[in-house]
C-alpha cells in the first residue's frame, strides 16, 4: 500500500513539475506523457520511450526544478504493485491490513499463496486450513471449515477476485494474472499451492490440484467488476460441476489420512461434511454466476 501511495504521489508531482517546465520540454510531449493510458505492454514500452525523451531534455536543463523532476520521473511509467504472502498472512495475521487495502480501491495486486497452513514455521493451522485436516496446533484435526476469503473480497464489489489452481486449469490461471494486473483497482488472486506439509507425493502435486477442483474441494472462478459495469454478471465460474467425492482428493494426503488412522469415525464425519460443503459451495457459486445483471 505504501508503494502505491509513493508511486501515485510521485507521478502526480512529476506531472506538476513537467507542467512547470512545459516550455522547455514541449507541451506536446508533456500531454502525450500525462494522457498515456498504458493499458498494455506495447503502450508501456512507448511511454518508457516518451519519458526517456523527456528526461533527456530535462537532464540538460540542470536547474533545481529539473533535478526534482528527474528524481520522480520514473513514476510516470506504469509500475505493477504486488503484495505477496501465504495464507497465514492473508487469512490470519495480515487480514486486517489486507481487508483495508482491498477496501481502499487502490490499484494493487495481491497474490495469496494458499498452502492452507503456516508452511514456513512448520505447518501450523491457519483459517485457510480445511475441516478435518491434521496440522500442528490442530493435532486432532481442525474442527472448523476453511474461511472463504474470496467471498469476503467479492463483497466489496470493486475488487477483482480470482481463485486459481494451475494444475487443474492453467489457462484460467494465466488469464486471471493478466486480468488482475490490468484491473485498475485492487485485485486478489487466491492460488492453490500444494506443500510438503500436506503429506503428499510432491511429484503428484499438480494432480492433487486437479482432483481438488474435480471434487469441488477447490473452486475456480474469476470475479471482474469491469463486467458488472458493462451490465454482465461479474462472476465467471471456471470449475466444471463436481464429479467426484472429496475423499478421492483427500485420501492422497497425509494431513487427512492421519486422522483416518487415529480417529476413523471423526475422519469419516469430516470427509462427509467437507464433501457436502464443497458441493453446496459449488452450487452457491453457480447460482451467483447465473444471476442476471441486465440493467434493462
Amino acid at each position: 500500500m505504501g508503494y502505491r501511495l509513493t508511486i501515485d504521489k510521485h507521478r502526480e508531482h512529476a506531472i506538476e513539475l513537467m507542467e512547470l517546465l512545459q516550455d522547455e520540454i514541449g507541451s506536446e510531449l508533456v500531454t502525450a506523457i500525462t494522457s498515456a493510458s498504458q493499458a498494455n505492454e506495447p503502450e508501456i514500452f512507448e511511454q518508457r520511450a516518451r519519458v526517456k525523451e523527456m528526461t533527456d531534455i530535462v537532464e540538460r536543463l540542470d536547474t533545481p526544478l529539473a533535478r526534482q523532476l528527474l528524481s520522480v520521473a520514473d513514476n510516470l511509467v506504469k509500475k505493477s504493485v504486488w503484495i505477496m504472502g501465504g495464507d497465514g498472512w492473508a487469512y490470519d495475521i495480515g487480514f486486517g491490513g489486507l481487508d483495508h487495502v482491498i477496501a481502499s480501491g487502490k490499484d494493487v495486486n495481491i497474490l495469496v499463496l494458499d498452502t492452507e497452513v503456516y508452511s514456513n514455521t512448520g505447518g501450523q493451522k491457519s483459517k485457510a486450513t480445511p475441516l478435518g485436516a491434521v496440522a500442528k496446533f490442530a493435532a486432532a484435526g481442525k474442527p472448523s471449515p476453511k474461511k472463504d476469503l474470496g467471498m469476503i473480497a467479492m463483497s466489496y464489489k470493486n475488487v477483482y477476485v480470482a481463485s486459481v489452481a494451475m494444475g487443474s486449469n492453467d489457462g484460467q490461471t494465466v488469464r486471471a494474472f493478466m486480468e488482475a494486473e490490468a484491473y485498475p483497482g485492487p485485485s486478489i488472486i487466491i492460488a492453490y499451492s500444494q506443500c510438503i506439509a500436506h503429506g503428499i507425493d510432491m511429484t503428484k502435486g499438480m494432480n492433487q490440484q486437479k482432483l481438488a477442483v474435480e471434487s469441488a474441494y477447490w473452486t475456480l472462478y474469476r470475479y471482474n467488476p469491469l463486467l458488472a459495469a458493462a451490465g454482465k454478471n461479474p462472476l465467471l465460474l471456471d470449475s466444471k460441476p463436481p464429479k467426484t467425492h472429496v475423499r478421492e482428493y483427500a485420501m492422497n494426503e497425509a494431513r487427512f489420512t492421519i486422522l483416518k488412522r487415529i480417529n476413523p469415525k471423526m475422519s469419516d464425519h469430516y470427509l462427509e461434511e467437507s464433501d457436502l460443503a464443497a458441493k453446496e459451495k459449488y452450487d452457491y457459486y453457480a447460482k451467483l454466476a447465473a444471476l442476471s445483471y441486465d440493467k434493462a
Partner: protein
Amino acid sequence: MNRKMVTIDGNEAAAYIAHKTNEICAIYPITPSSNMGEHADAFSAQGRRNIWGTIPTVEAMQSEGGAAGAVHGALQTGALTTTFTASQGLLLMIPNMYKIAGELTATVFHVSARSLAAQALSIFGDHSDVMATRATGWAMLSANSVQEVMDMALIAQSSTLQTRIPFIHFFDGFRTSHEVLKIEQLNDDDIKGMIDDEWVIAHRKRGMNPNDPVLRGTAQNPDVYFQGRETVNPFYEATPEIVQKTMDRFARIAGRSYHLFDYYGAEDAERVIVIMGSGAEAVEETVDHMLAAGERVGLVKIRLFRPFSIKHFINALPASVKKIAVLDRTKEPGGAGEPMYQDVITAFAEAKSEAYYQFDEMPLIVGGRYGLSSKEFTPAMIKGIYDELIKDKPKNHFTIGIRDDVSFTSLDFDPEYHTSKPGNFRGLFYGLGSDGTVGANKNSIKIIGEGTDNYAQGYFVYDSKKSGSTTTSHLRFGKEKIRATYLIDKASFIACHQYELLDQFDILSNAEEGATFLLTSHLNKDEIWGALPRHYQKQIVDKKIKFYVIDAVTVAKETGMGSRINTIMQTCFFAISGIFPKDEAIAKIKEAIKKTYGNKGDVVVEKNYNAVDQSVSNLFQVDVPNTLNGSDVRRLIVPEAAPDFVQQVTAEIIAGRGDALPVSAMPIDGTWPTATTQWEKRNIALEVPVWEPDICIQCNKCALVCPHAAIRPKITTPDAFDNAPETIKHIGAKGREWEADSQYILQVAVEDCTGCNLCVEACPARDKTNLSRKAINMADQRPLRDSERINWDFFTDLPEVDRGNVKAGSVKGSQLLQPLFEFSGACVGCGETPYVKLASQLFGDRMVIANATGCSSIYGGNLPTTPWAKNNAGRGPTWNNSLFEDNA
C-alpha cells in the same frame, strides 16, 4: 516419586512445565518458539492433564497480538494462562504486557529469545526481543540450559503467583530451545510442591465475576494517573526476595540450587564476566579450564534480570574483583551502552554509599556484544575477553566473534584455544534437510541418552534453503555434564550423508586425530579412494582417520526408502561407533523407528526395518593406502563470470565461510543485489528432465509448472545455432505466429533443477510407439552435467523472444517470456513458486513487491543468493520483505 531422565530440547522442557501448571494456552506460531505451542497442543490432544487434573485448553489465535489479548482476557477472568513466543511476536504482545503488569496479574510467558528484523530478518537467537520488553514491568528470568529451562519455568510460575508480577521466562532461541539434552524431568509431586493451592485460588478470586462486579481499565487523567502508577512499587521491591525464596524451596525439592545472581569461579578472582543466557555455560566451562591453569577469573550469571536487585548483584561478586566485562547479547544503537552494561554501571554507582558495598575501589567495567543471531560464542572467544581484561585499558563497547574493520570494535582471540577433553564422543553429521539426517540423529541421542548413563547433547545447524538445504548435526556424549553451548570443532566422528557435500565443505577439517569418517558414496570401497579430492586423502592419512563407506542411496532405493537415507546412515553410525553392542543398537533403532513413524502406518515402519537390516551388510571399511593420487583441483564456488560482489561476498557465504566476512563486506542498510541464484550451481537433483524434440508438441506446460524456472523454451532464428554446442537440441517451431524456419528449443538448467518431476508429470505428449516415453523424461543428472552446463550457457545467450510477438495471456505464450524469478531455494515440487514465477514473466520488468514473511520471503530473500532476477535491460522486480503482520 522417582524422576525420569529425559532427552528433550528446551522448547519441550518449557512446554512440559507450562502445560502442567496452566489451564489455558493461547498460541501463535513463530520460530523458534512454535514447538512449545505444538507440544502443548499435542499434550492436550493426547489427554494429558495438568497438576490439578484437568486438560488445558489450547487455542491458536490469529496473531501474537491476538494471543496476548486472549491471554489478558483469560487472566482477567481468573484462569491460569500462558503463551509462547519470540522476536517480533513478543513485540506484538507489548501493548498487552503493559496492561497485564499494570493490573498485577500473575502469568508466565515462555520466550525462546530471538533476533529482531532490522537490516534483515533472522530466526536465530539473541536477546534483542526480550530486551525490548524490559520497560513493560514484567519480571525477567533467564534459563541458560535445557535443564534450567525446566527448572526456571517452574520457579517463574511459582514466583508469579506469589508476587503478582508477570514473568517472562526466556532462554536462547535455537541454542537452548532446539538443543537436545539429557535432563532430569520434574515430576508432578515436585511441581505441586512448588505451587500452593491458596495462591491459585487467590488468582482466580482476582478474576472478574458478575457476582462480585468490579471495573478495571479505567481512563485516568492528569490528577491521578501518576499516583496510580506508583502503587505497584512495593510489589517490585518484594519480588527479588520472593524469587530467591522460591529458588531455595526449589533447591530443597529438586536439589538444584539457584540464586538471583550466581557467582562461579575463584574466590579471589580479579577478572569477572557478567553474562545471561546459554553463553554462561560456555563461560563456566572456560572458567574451569582457566582456573586449572592458575588464572584468577570468575563469572556472574544473571538469572533474575528484572526486577534488578542491586544489592543481590553487588553481594554476588567477590571483593577481590578489579575488572568486569558485561556481555550483552543484543545491540542498542545510539545508547550509552547495552542494557546489562548500563545496569551494572548503575548498580555500582548506586551501591557505593550502601553498607553492603564491599569494594575498596570501584572495579573497571567494560561492556561488550557477542552472539547476535546465534553467532558462535566459544571458549576461545571467552578466553579472548578475559585476556583483554588484563590490559590496563581494556576496550569498551567491544564485539567478540566477528571482525569489525569499520568501527574497530572487535577483540582478537586465539581460535586454537580449546577446552574439550579427550574421551568424550563428539560427532558431526553432514546431511540435507530432506534426507532425514537430523531426525535420525535426534533418535540416536534419545537412544543413547535414555539407554545409557551417558550425558547426551544434540544441536542441529540448518541453512534456510527449503530444497537441498544442508544440515550439520553436532552430537556430544560423555560421562560428565555437558556445558558446551557451542558447535563442535574437534570431532571424533564425522559422517557425510551426501557425497556432493564433499565438494561444498571441507568436511574433515574438524576431524581430530584418530577420528572415524563415514561416507555414503556411489563408489565402492575399492573405487572410493582414487575419487577423493587430494586434500581429503591427505587429512585421512595425516590424522590416521578410520574410513568407512556405504552406498546408502542404492540401499535406500532397493528397500523402498526413496531418497531418505537417514535410517541407513544411523544404523552405520551405531555399527561402527561402538557405543552399544551392534545387535542391541539395532534393536534400539527399530524401537525408535516404531515411535517416530508409527503414526504414518505399518508400511513405513516395515520399510525402515528392512533398511536397517540391509545397511549393516553394505557397510565397508576402506583400506587406506599411503598414496595421495586424488585430484587437486577444487571446484569453483561460483563461475568466473560472476560479478565482483558475488565473488567476494556471496561465494564466501555459499562456501560456509560467512563467519569470516568482515563488517566492511556487508551492505550498510540491508540492500542486496538481485539475480544471484544463477551463480549458485547447487547440483542437488539426482535426476533431471531430458527433452525429446520429436515427441514434443511445444505446449510449454512443463515450463509453467516448474517451481525453479529450470526448464525454459525459446523461439529463435535457425542461424542462431550456427556455432551451437554439439549436444544442443532444437526443432522447427510450431505456430503461425512465427516466421518460417523459426526454431523451438527447450533447455534444462540441470545444475539448478531440483529433480521434482513436475514437468514430466505435466507433459501431455507421449511417444505413440512407446506410451511410457514422454516428450520429457527423467534421467541421471551426473552424466549430463558437463554437456548441459555448456548448453545452458548457450541457451541463455540466445536472444529473448520479442515480447510484442507473444500472446502473453496464453500458457504457451507466457512461458516464452523470461522468468525474473529463478532457481529459488523453495522445496522440491513447491506449489507456490510456479505462480510467483508466472507473475515475474508477465510483469517482472515493472514489478514492485511487498512480501509478507513466510515461505515466499525466505525462498525469495534468504541469503546467500536471491532468485528475483533482471532482464537484459537491467530491469526486474524490486522487492522488500515487510513484516508478517502488516504487509498489505
